[in-house]
Amino acid sequence: MCDQTFVAITFGPCDNCAKTKPLMNIYLNNEVINYCSLCVELMACQGLEKGETVAKLKKETEALKVKLEVERNKLHDTELHKLAEKVEAVGQLNIRARRVLKGHANKVLCMDWCTDKRRLVSSSQDGKLIVWDAFTTNKEHAVSMPSTWVMACAYSPSGCAVAAGGLDNKCSVYPLSLDKNENLAAKRKPVAMHTNYVSHCTFTNSDLQVLTSSGDGTCALWDVESAQLLQSFHSHTADVLSLDMGPSETSNTFVSGGCDKKAKLWDMRSGQNVQSFETHESDVNCVKFYPNGDAFATASDDATCRFFDLRADREVAVFSKDSVMFGASSVDFSLSGRLLFAGYNDYTINIWDVLKAERVSILFGHDNRVSTVRVSPDGSAFCSASWDNTLRVWA
């Protein structure tokens, strides 16, 4: 709250041209400067090269956008599903819910598998983080977070820690211990600090760095030990809802998707937005890399999932059906990338054939929206988390 009063000079001699005119009070480097509006415009224009004006920049923007489209269309010689016509169709899948994990008191918002293929962590609206053993359905740890709506949770690659964040605008790391009686909440280490909710978080290739995306429109890379911001990524013009790191151990790129309907590819070292894709008609809820790292899929509120190829720099497939009218909240690929599992707000999970862009199967079982779908690290099962307070493991 501001409880000081300032004297603002609104009419008088300009600091620059000395003419007596109405003044604009601006602050440069914390010093008050009283320029008339003409001098302010001139000062702003000093940043432009000779001959540039706002109108010219606008024209160039439009021209560049058109050029981008033209360049992309030049290479559009065929469609993915046309090429895949000769491939034999996916056979009958015998996938059923094999485990139901009950224990959360409220909507389950996010989940992640551990690299040991058997443990998973889930986070819920009630502020709890639970670590489960998926084979036996036992709960191994339960941690209470300081805020509700824990929208993001992630398991570290070593399996020794979990990261979680949400409405508290922070992402915290909890080291897991084998001692059941240890109070995990006390060992909480806040790592990331955003100015709006944390929508997604993931460890990079090691336990030492965490990548987060936030409702403040930015993504950020943090060092866990010192809680320092290593790199921030600005380009989205609205909330960033999801991100995914490249699958290879040496990759330093990630994709993000947000409420500005765009999906963007970033270089982690430079912070540069390398590629941008804008074909969705509504918020992009989830982004996931294809297993070979050359493509990614997105799920959106416009009831479609789309498949983008990074090397061709364009959308190559749309997974949609007239009967699918509800937004998709989450997607994940099977191990070979042939199947795409997508969770929807109409309580179902659709399985799509990626090459042919056809739906293979539809899974029922949840009583409320499916919030997250994740395939286990060895591809033998996938888990879905839902607003009906349960998680289901399908195999």
Partner: protein, 68 residues
């Protein structure tokens, strides 16, 4: 200062678009062929696609053995 910040923002957008327009692209047929090849190569190792038997998949219920 709306004028100056608009200009700065627009310059950034123009720079970004210039960068994006200049990247190397591959033909869709080439990219699609590579995706398809990856799928086919790894299809056999994909347990959800090929359906593994109960003995190897820990999540599927074991068949009960009975002595005759």
């Amino acid at each position: 200062m709306s004028g100056a910040s608009n200009l700065v923002a627009m310059k950034k957008i123009v720079q970004q678009l210039r960068f994006e327009a200049s990247i190397n692209r591959v033909k869709v047929s080439q990219a699609a062929a590579d995706l398809q090849q990856f799928c086919m190569q790894n299809a056999l190792q994909d347990p959800l696609l090929t359906g593994v038997s109960s003995s190897t998949n820990p999540f599927r219920p074991q068949k009960v053995c009975s002595f005759l």
